[in-house]
Structure formats: structure tokens, C-alpha cells
């Protein structure tokens, strides 16, 4: 049905990974076709309008990607990327306190200095960008290279730039150990550990101290100014990447689900669209490579026929541990603006004429509360048993100061739409009462959420609440099939699924058992999720090695990258 087509590269999935990969490869002069099953691209980088004119960020909501080489390599500023700076933009030095059950507890100077040191800000000169890039924007080493302290990129950076911090234990300790050594207050440590857990590598897991720490550092860097977000939200950021791809000739097709990756003689040669696709059942041939920018399950259990993969590999794919919380998202429509309870009401924690509260994490009292929450979600795996007073949660950054958001002009007759509030809950795949449990319990979950958020906020009472929109992990996955199990950051970022083992050895460098088939998704290789533009950057090194991509002068490899023997090096100059 219809004409078959031929491109150099076919990419399945137009989320941030698929689109960034398309932008890179199109800039190399390759013909690229991106296929997206939904009517809209963007994946998790989505903006929603629960009421006309008022936008919220239901998924990706934080700017983790600021050190990414992609901004300059793809010239995103030329494609309209802008940040909307928080009006009280301030660097770390002005973040004064954290929300605890007894009110705001101040952050100490030691907290800030310790944190700054961990993030490379106290080097002479500071080496933050180099450190972040070493941690996330560098492909794992080739299989023939044994991973040692001397070649783990972040280890090398600390060793060279901050030798007093350097010790082998950095690769074995937990983030909390690290914070105990460098920072001071308990609430600071608890908050950072929670932020790390929500981002993918928990604060109490051994062996991931630095990745966990640096991941949270990405949010507190001075150039993200108190959790400022891109103009137009994360979807606005995505738009710039999309434009970068399309302006160099990438072809993006929506409403085109892929049914099968076509394989001949062990090599991926193209894809076949589903009969119901907008371009119905067509075959799209790939001269050079097929890149699956969808989750591991779809890619290997559905799109690649079983006969092409050995059963051991298939089992490993099924066993990849997602065991990681998913986030339960709530947005509230209330008659009056939500207000901070008197214990926490401060001028520097409200924004704009409507005094919209913005806070970070609550409650940060101690690591015991943090452990209690982790144990309940990752351990017990059922309905929440942590009492609402101790359930930890966080709030997405407000957007009301984005001048292109209509919210500011909307009269109070409409009521107020909050930003998203989130709490970690057990992923549906692991819930001991079954996959549908969370959805069955939705009313109870909603009530629990309101009780928890109501510890700190007034305005969630029945007589003020117009609507409570909520999304469970399953809802999120239903909308966006790539977010398997509702996971927000890809598979578990623990020691066993890290770096050269992520998600499994065979997939760690983005290659797959099928020649010409690569994998670029948060459930695939290093570093996982969070819209970092990292996987595509890392994948580029591999595509250069395999002779698929030949970028121009604008390309530079990671300084810590080790070329695979027998392959073309991705280094330039």
C-alpha cells in the first residue's frame, strides 16, 4: 500500500531522544525519517491545558540538561530555545531554607559549601561543566576495557581537579555517605537524597553516590536559577530540538506506529508501519541504520521478531529492573489560590500578585523520613502506609511568570490552577495487588495526596476544591507508551544497571545484537532519563565508530571517551 521509501536513517519514536538523534544525524547530512505513533511529537516533553489558556507540565518539568553539548552543537538558540527565568532568580547562595514539619529550617553555610564543592564549583578554576559532562555526557567504555578508578570519567575529573576529594570509596559509598562527609544539616541531606531518588538514583543506594549527587546538582546549578524552565515549558525546549532536526531536512511523520523492524541476514534494513498508520502499512527502508528511540520492551519484544534474538537475551530484556518509583501527579483547580499554612508562610516562597506558593520538597526533616518513604514504595510495594504527615512530595516549578502563558491574565472568576504536585508511589508493574491496583484505588490515592499536601497548604478542602486531576503511573504509560511501568527516568539507576552494565551489557553502548539497529531511549543505555540530550550525544560516538555518521567541525567528542578497538574514533582534531 503506497510507495515504499528509503532514507539513510529511520528513527522510531519522536520523544526527546529520537528527535535529538534526528537533529544530530540530519546535521551530518544524512536523510532521516522519524516515525511517531502519536499525533504529536515530544514524548514526555509535553504541555497540557486542563482549562483553555492555562498550561501545566504533567511530565518532564525540570531543566536537567543545561551542561549538554547539544545546545551549542545543534545551535538550539537559533531555533528559538529560551529560558524563562524565575523572577527571583538567584544562584545557590540565596536558597535559604527547606520545608520541614516544624517550619522552614535554614540551610547552613557548610551545606552550601559542601554541595558546591561536590559540584566542582570550588575548583580553581571551577570545573562544574566538565564534571557534569563527564558523568552523563560520555558513552560507556568499550567492552574490552576494564572499568577502573583510572578511567571512570567523573573519577578522573575529581582526581585531576579536586584531589583532596578523590578516593576509591567514591565508587562504593552512598550519596548520604558523601553528604555526611561534606555537608552539615540533616534536612539538607534528606532533601537531596529524596531529589536523587525521584530522579532515578536513590540517595541510599551503594555505588551510585556521585551519579546521584550530580543528577541533583543539575537542578541546582546557577544556570538553572531556582528551577527556571524553558520558555514554553519542556515542550518549548523540545520544539527547538524538533526545529533543529527538521531545518536540516529530517522528515517527521506522526500517526505512524511501527509494527516491525525488518531484518535481513542479521541486519536491520527498515521498518514496516502498522496498517492503520497514516501512511498505512508502508515499508520504510533504512540504508544505514534503524534507531529504536522507544522503550526496550517494545523494541525487542514486539518490533524485533523473536526468531532474530536468542532466548537468553529476550529473558534479560524482560528482567531489566524498572524497580523504581513512579510519580503520581496531581493538579488542583481551586476557588481560591492555595496558601502556605502560617508555619511556612513567607514572602520569599510566594510568587506574583496571586501569591502562588512555590516550594521544593516536603518534609525534609530527616533521613529516617526519607527511608520510611523509600521502604514503603520500593520495599513494601503496596498502597502507601506512610502517614500523610510524613509522606514526602515535591512541587513542579510554577510557570505563571512565563509571559506567554495566559494564566496571568485570567480573572479570578475562573479559580486557580496549581502547578503539578508529585509523590513517589509503587510502580504498577510491582504493586503486590496487581497492575490495576493504583487505578482501582484512585479515589483513596487522591484523598491521601490531598491530606499530604494539605500538611503545608491551605485550600485543598472540599469547599475550596473544584477539581483534582491526577495521573497514575498507568495513566502516564497509556498516554506515552515509552514510559513503561510509569517510570519517569528509565530503568533503575542502581549499581547493577549503571554505565557499562546499563541496562544490560549487550546494550550498554547503544548497539544491539542486530547489526544496524541501535537503541536510544531512557530505558536503554547510560545515563537514563531526564531529557538530557545525553543518549543521542553518546550514541553519536558509536555511530561515528560504525562509519554511519560523519559530522563536520561542529562536533566534538567527550574528552573521556575511549574508542572501541578496530573502530573509527569519534574524536576530532
Amino acid at each position: 500500500m503506497g510507495k515504499d521509501e528509503r532514507f539513510d536513517i529511520v528513527i522510531i519514536g519522536a520523544g526527546p531522544n529520537g528527535m535529538t538523534t534526528a537533529a544530530y544525524l540530519a546535521k551530518c547530512g544524512l536523510s532521516v525519517c522519524v516515525l511517531e505513533e502519536r499525533t504529536e511529537c515530544g514524548g514526555a516533553c509535553e504541555t497540557q491545558e486542563p482549562i483553555p489558556g492555562v498550561r501545566i507540565l504533567p511530565h518532564a518539568m525540570l531543566m536537567y540538561a543545561s551542561p549538554a553539548p547539544g545546545f551549542e552543537q545543534l545551535e538550539l538558540h537559533k531555533h528559538g530555545f529560551r529560558m524563562t527565568w524565575h523572577p527571583d532568580y538567584a544562584g545557590m547562595e540565596n536558597v535559604a531554607a527547606l520545608a520541614c514539619t516544624d517550619g522552614w529550617r535554614p540551610i547552613s553555610m557548610q551545606d552550601k559549601m559542601g554541595w558546591a564543592k561536590l559540584g566542582g564549583m570550588l575548583g580553581a578554576p571551577p570545573f562544574t561543566k566538565e564534571l557534569m559532562r563527564a558523568a552523563f555526557w560520555c558513552p560507556p567504555h568499550p567492552p574490552e576495557v576494564e572499568v577502573t578508578d583510572d578511567n571512570v570519567p567523573y573519577m578522573q575529573v575529581y582526581k585531576q581537579r579536586q584531589p583532596d576529594m578523590y578516593t576509591h570509596e567514591l565508587r562504593e559509598m552512598t550519596m548520604l555517605d558523601l553528604l555526611d562527609e561534606h555537608c552539615e544539616t540533616e534536612h539538607w541531606k534528606a532533601a537531596m537524597a529524596f531529589a536523587a531518588w525521584a530522579s532515578g538514583a536513590a540517595g541510599h543506594w551503594e555505588g551510585v553516590a556521585i551519579p546521584a549527587t550530580l543528577c541533583v546538582q543539575l537542578l541546582t546549578l546557577p544556570n538553572t536559577g531556582q528551577n527556571s524552565i524553558p520558555r514554553g515549558g519542556l515542550h518549548g525546549y523540545f520544539h527547538a530540538i524538533h526545529r533543529a532536526a527538521v531545518s536540516k531536512g529530517a522528515v517527521v511523520r506522526t500517526c505512524c506506529p511501527v509494527d516491525e523492524i525488518l531484518i535481513e541476514d542479521g541486519r536491520a534494513v527498515g521498518v514496516r508501519l502498522r496498517e492503520t498508520a497514516a501512511m498505512g502499512g508502508r515499508t520504510i527502508w533504512a540504508n544505514k541504520a534503524v534507531i529504536a528511540a522507544v522503550d526496550v520492551h517494545q523494541a525487542f519484544l514486539k518490533m524485533v521478531g523473536r526468531r532474530h534474538l536468542d532466548p537468553g537475551f529476550i529473558q534479560k530484556i524482560k528482567d531489566i529492573s524498572l524497580k523504581n518509583q513512579t510519580l503520581y501527579v496531581s493538579v488542583f483547580h481551586t476557588k481560591t489560590q492555595l496558601r502556605l499554612k502560617p508555619k511556612w508562610d513567607r514572602e520569599d516562597r510566594v510568587l506574583g500578585p496571586n501569591r502562588q506558593p512555590f516550594l521544593g520538597v516536603y518534609p525534609c526533616d530527616s533521613r529516617e523520613i526519607y527511608y520510611e518513604n523509600c521502604a514503603d514504595v520500593d520495599g513494601r510495594k503496596g498502597q502507601p502506609t506512610v502517614p500523610p504527615e510524613r509522606a514526602m512530595w515535591f512541587q513542579a516549578p510554577p510557570q505563571s511568570f512565563d509571559p506567554t502563558d495566559c494564566q496571568a491574565n485570567y480573572p479570578p472568576a475562573r479559580g486557580f490552577i496549581s502547578q503539578a504536585y508529585e509523590m513517589a508511589v509503587t510502580s504498577p508493574d510491582y504493586h503486590k495487588e496487581g497492575e490495576d491496583a493504583l487505578d482501582k484505588y484512585k479515589p483513596q490515592m487522591d484523598a491521601y495526596m490531598r491530606q499530604s499536601y494539605g500538611q503545608m497548604l491551605d485550600g485543598l478542602e472540599d469547599d475550596n476544591l473544584i477539581h483534582h486531576w491526577s495521573a497514575t503511573g498507568r495513566d502516564i504509560e497509556f498516554r506515552n507508551t515509552g514510559l513503561i511501568g510509569g517510570t519517569w527516568c528509565g530503568s533503575r539507576h542502581d549499581e547493577d544497571q549503571l554505565w557499562t552494565n546499563r541496562p544490560i551489557k549487550e546494550l550498554a553502548r547503544y548497539r544491539t545484537p542486530i547489526d544496524g539497529l541501535y537503541h536510544a531511549h531512557q530505558t536503554s543505555g547510560h545515563p537514563g532519563g531526564l531529557c538530557l540530550m545525553a543518549i543521542p550525544y553518546n550514541l553519536m560516538h558509536i555511530l561515528i565508530e560504525d562509519g554511519i555518521a560523519e559530522p563536520g567541525d561542529w562536533w566534538y567528542a567527550s574528552p573521556w571517551y575511549i574508542p572501541q578497538s578496530g573502530k573509527i574514533s569519534a574524536k576530532r582534531g
Partner: protein, 541 residues
């Protein structure tokens, strides 16, 4: 630090997108600026209820797919964007179980009308034959060429039989036209609704040449497969491929005018974009001239003309629905294909009830039990809802200013729930299977929401202004701007507030792109459609 382009376009609705696409492919360096975060304007498809239910939150019924040059010029079909053209276009089920049905084809329609009145059936056949002629020869071509001044247009009309026939319409009101042609109450009701619901005053003469257009287009509605937003996707992609730039989330501060000429645009954040050739505004004249150019840069008389622009008398209150199943109309018992109609008109059991709806709106009210049209896109395009489920919309004419409480009452959540419940209750009367529990989620867009979301749709004016005789055709928006150039040199208008008007026509955009190409000697890569050349040769336009 400024960046320079050939042409800067403000507003990325269908017209802005068309201009960007035409000119970028003609080798011009084009920048398209959009205030909102998403391009496409009214060409929007969004998941506003439950994941996987897609809703066309503004433009749904595409009525000029067979006439607008953009579809062929940009290879929509080749790019995989097609339109569904349901056999049964409009159905009006009645409480007594009968239904009046308008099909693509004339004969089945006549058969349906004959059940109400044989005379009306013949009259319909005759009408569509005549209107087809009018559409093909005059009304269609007129949409895609600049408007002539009234005397010239009248002169041309005098020279041909068809022209003379069309002129007669202008003397009559839509109600007169419909009632002269049809005798049966229900036929009259449906015809008058379809002729006027897009914004014509049923009792006013002067723009009734729109009646043949709307009644002819009534059998020509199409649905974009995959959702209306796909139409904007094609134009966006073409623009990108040709090196055009689009900036979303870009708030303008002013249009830079120096020595009486438009030189560029400045954004709120200070970024300046300069235009070597033209600045085009596809948004309304108030924002364009009063806000972004500034009264101090314009003649007093011109400013007065701008200020008397009339916004629309009524807008739409639309309820989007995620449903567990599609509606099964009671009237389908006697007419099995009824459930496959593209549009269902419900609730107007008499002509008086229909007129009462319009009359009430001028008092700021909607009558209890007021009717509407509804559409269930997933019935025709399974993409738009999960398997077995249904997505739908109920589109009801509604005033902007409400008698009690003004326009802010639209934002009151209690009132919104009432409105939604009433609309669903009416649906249930005609399609009893839609009990309240079958409606999984709703999302309401009211006239106040439309204004908030689209700053150019003041008072919810989705055509950017009333279809009043004094501001249509050569007078839209006024005689200084209706040919797309404005008193400010190099500033062009290309949106719904310029001739021929609003809806997804691509008329203003196409004509504006032509005007710019002519003024700057830009070689056109696109050729005039045959039907327009023929109409010119025959002296019709």
C-alpha cells in the same frame, strides 16, 4: 542584536502558516512568530480529556478542501495528510424518530427530504445544481483572488447571468432565501441553521451571498484524518524544509515602524527581528494597529476606522467528550446509516426554536433546551479514540457577554458544570445510550476561554470579526486594508480580519502571499488553479 529576515509573519494560524510556506518555498527567508507554545492556531488537536482521546479543540469541519490551493500546492496527500469525506454529511434527528439527512450526493439527500416534502426535494436538487454553478464559477474563485471594489464587482456581476443571479441574494435575508425555497418546517430549520450558524444574522440582508456558499459547503465537509493539527503540520514542515524559522512562545512588544514603513518586530524580551521586505500580521486589527504599531504612527481617520471594527455577535461553547462508546441515535431505527453522519444537529424541533436561540443570544442568554451540532470524529477516524471508545464534541452557539454576570460567568465552575450537563442531557434525548456514566471526561471551551487562549479572538470571535455587510468583501477590514496592503508601507494583513474572512479557508493567507510576491517581484513557484483562470476568462472574477 537583531536578526534579519525577508518576511516576518505574526501568528501561526492557518493563514500565517500558509504565507510562511508559500514564501519560504519561493526562496524568501521567513520568520513566523507565535505567542502561544504551539503553532497552528485553530488547527489544534489536543488530548484535553483522558490520555489517547484526541480532540479537535477549534477547527473541525474543513469546508474548502476541494477549493483551497494549499492542499495541492503542498502535496498534502503525498505527505500522508488526507481528509475523510463521510457519505452522510449532516443529519437532523427529530424527537419523533424521523431524520432529515444531507448526503454528499444530491439524490440520496432528495430521497430523505422527500419524506418531509416532495416539493422541497425537487427544490433541493435544483438548489444544489445552481449553487454548484455559483461555487465553481464565482464564489470559489472569489475566495482566492483579491476582492474588487464594490462598483467594479457590481459591474462584473451585471455582465453574466450567474453574476446577476448572485446579486439577487444580496437583497434578501437568509431567512427569506431559505423560506422562499423550502416549505417544510424541518427542512427550513436545518437549512437556515446550516446557512447561518457560522455567524450570519438570519434577518439581515447584505451578506447573503454567503448562503449559497454555506449551503453548498454543507455537503462538502471533511474531517482531517489524525486530527486538524495535521494540516498545520504539513505547512510547518514545508516551511522548515525551505529554511523558514518558527518561534513559538514569542510575545511581541511592537512592530518596528520607521518613516512610515514597517521594518521589523521587537519581542517583549528585547529581541529584535528585522524584515528586509515585509511584516505580515495575521492577527486582528486592534492588536496590529492599536497595540503593536501604535496610534501615533497612524492617521486619525484610519485609527477611527479600526476602532469601529465589530466583533462577532456570538461565539461557540464547545464541550469535548471522552466517551466509553459512540452514540446510537434513536432515529437510526428508521435510518440505519444515521449513526455514521459526520455532523448531527440536535434540539431544533421547530423554526421558531432556532430563531429563538439567536434572538436570546442578543440578550445575553441561551434558551433552555437550545440545540447545537455535534460530531464524533472517532466514528470516522478510529485514530482519535482508543479502540471501542469514542471522542466527541458538542458545539453550541453562545453569546460572549452573559446577561447575569457578563463574560466572567463563563469561567465560573458551577455554571460550567450546568452547561455541560445540559448539553449531555440533550444528547441523551436523541441518543439514549449515552447515559451520564458513558461520558468518561469532559472539557469545556467557552467564549471567554476562546478569548483567553487566542488574543485575536476578542469576544470569542473565531473569525476575528463579525460578518457584517459593512466589513465584508472589499470592506474587510476596511477599504484601506482589504487588498492586504495597509497604510503602513511593507506592513500586510493576512488573517481572518481581511477578505475573504475566517474559517479554515486559507483565502486571506493565499491572497496575501500573492500580494507580497507581486509587490516585491518574487517569482511564484505556484500556479493559479485552473478553475480560477477559467473564472477570470469567463468574466466572473
Amino acid at each position: 542584536m537583531a536578526q534579519t529576515y525577508d518576511v516576518i509573519i505574526i501568528g501561526s494560524g492557518p493563514n500565517g502558516l500558509a504565507i510562511a510556506a508559500y514564501l519560504s518555498k519561493a526562496g524568501q527567508k521567513v520568520l513566523l512568530l507565535e505567542k502561544r507554545f504551539e503553532a497552528g492556531g485553530g488547527l489544534a488537536t489536543e488530548q484535553v480529556t483522558i490520555p489517547d482521546f484526541y480532540h479537535n479543540t477549534h477547527a473541525v469541519y474543513m469546508m474548502m478542501v476541494d477549493y483551497a490551493p494549499v492542499y495541492k500546492d503542498f502535496g498534502f496527500e503525498e505527505r500522508g495528510v488526507t481528509h475523510i469525506y463521510p457519505e452522510l454529511q449532516v443529519a437532523m434527528p427529530l424527537a419523533d424518530g424521523r431524520a432529515l439527512s444531507i448526503y454528499r450526493d444530491v439524490e440520496p439527500t432528495c430521497a430523505s427530504i422527500a419524506k418531509f416534502s416532495k416539493k422541497d426535494a425537487d427544490s433541493y436538487r435544483d438548489m444544489q445544481r445552481h449553487y454548484d454553478e455559483l461555487m465553481k464559477n464565482i464564489l470559489g474563485p472569489q475566495t482566492y483572488v483579491p476582492m474588487d471594489a464594490a462598483p467594479l464587482m457590481a459591474a462584473k456581476a451585471e455582465m453574466t447571468e450567474l453574476g446577476r443571479a448572485l446579486s439577487e441574494y444580496t437583497e434578501k435575508s437568509p431567512e427569506e432565501i431559505v423560506c422562499e425555497r423550502f416549505e417544510n418546517e424541518h427542512v427550513r430549520t436545518l437549512m437556515l441553521y446550516m446557512a447561518c450558524h457560522w455567524g450570519l444574522d438570519y434577518a439581515q440582508s447584505g451578506v447573503s451571498y454567503m448562503v449559497p456558499i454555506y449551503l453548498n459547503r454543507m455537503a462538502n465537509y471533511r474531517l482531517t484524518k489524525g486530527g486538524s493539527h495535521r494540516v498545520s503540520n504539513v505547512l510547518l514542515k514545508s516551511t522548515f524544509e525551505q529554511g523558514g524559522q518558527i518561534r513559538t512562545s514569542a510575545q511581541i512588544k511592537h512592530i518596528i515602524v520607521e518613516n512610515g514603513a514597517a521594518k521589523g518586530v521587537e519581542l517583549e524580551d528585547g529581541t529584535r527581528f528585522m524584515a528586509n521586505k515585509a511584516v505580515v500580521s495575521t492577527i486582528d486589527t486592534h492588536q496590529t494597529f492599536l497595540k503593536y504599531v501604535g496610534e501615533d504612527k497612524l492617521d486619525r481617520e484610519f485609527v477611527d476606522m479600526i476602532k469601529i471594527w465589530q466583533w462577532e455577535k456570538w461565539s461557540l461553547c464547545v464541550l469535548h467528550l471522552a466517551m466509553s462508546e459512540p452514540p446510537r441515535f434513536k432515529a437510526a431505527d428508521s435510518q440505519p446509516d444515521l449513526n455514521t453522519a459526520f455532523i448531527h444537529v440536535l434540539g431544533y424541533e421547530t423554526l421558531a426554536a432556532l430563531k429563538a436561540h439567536w434572538d436570546a443570544m442578543s440578550e445575553g442568554e441561551i434558551p433552555v433546551g437550545a440545540g447545537y451540532n455535534c460530531c464524533f470524529p472517532s466514528v470516522h477516524d478510529p485514530y482519535q479514540a482508543p479502540p471501542g471508545r469514542a471522542s466527541g464534541l458538542i458545539s453550541q452557539m453562545a453569546p460572549f457577554e452573559l446577561k447575569d454576570g457578563g463574560s466572567s460567568r463563563w469561567l465560573n465552575h458551577t455554571y460550567r458544570e450546568e452547561v455541560a450537563e445540559r448539553q449531555i442531557a440533550l444528547l441523551q434525548r436523541y441518543a439514549p445510550n449515552i447515559t451520564r456514566d458513558k461520558v468518561l471526561w469532559t472539557y469545556l471551551t467557552t467564549p471567554a476561554d476562546i478569548q483567553n487562549k487566542f488574543a485575536n479572538m476578542v469576544n470569542g470571535s473565531y473569525k476575528q470579526g463579525a460578518y457584517h455587510p459593512l466589513q465584508m468583501g472589499y470592506l474587510r477590514p476596511n477599504q484601506d486594508c482589504s487588498q492586504y496592503r495597509t497604510p503602513v508601507k511593507n506592513l500586510y494583513l493576512g488573517g481572518a480580519s481581511v477578505a475573504p474572512g475566517g474559517m479554515v479557508l486559507f483565502g486571506p493567507g493565499y491572497n496575501c502571499a500573492n500580494a507580497i510576491a507581486e509587490d516585491f517581484g518574487i517569482e511564484k513557484w505556484w500556479t493559479e488553479p485552473e478553475y480560477i483562470t477559467a473564472a477570470k476568462e469567463n468574466g466572473y472574477v
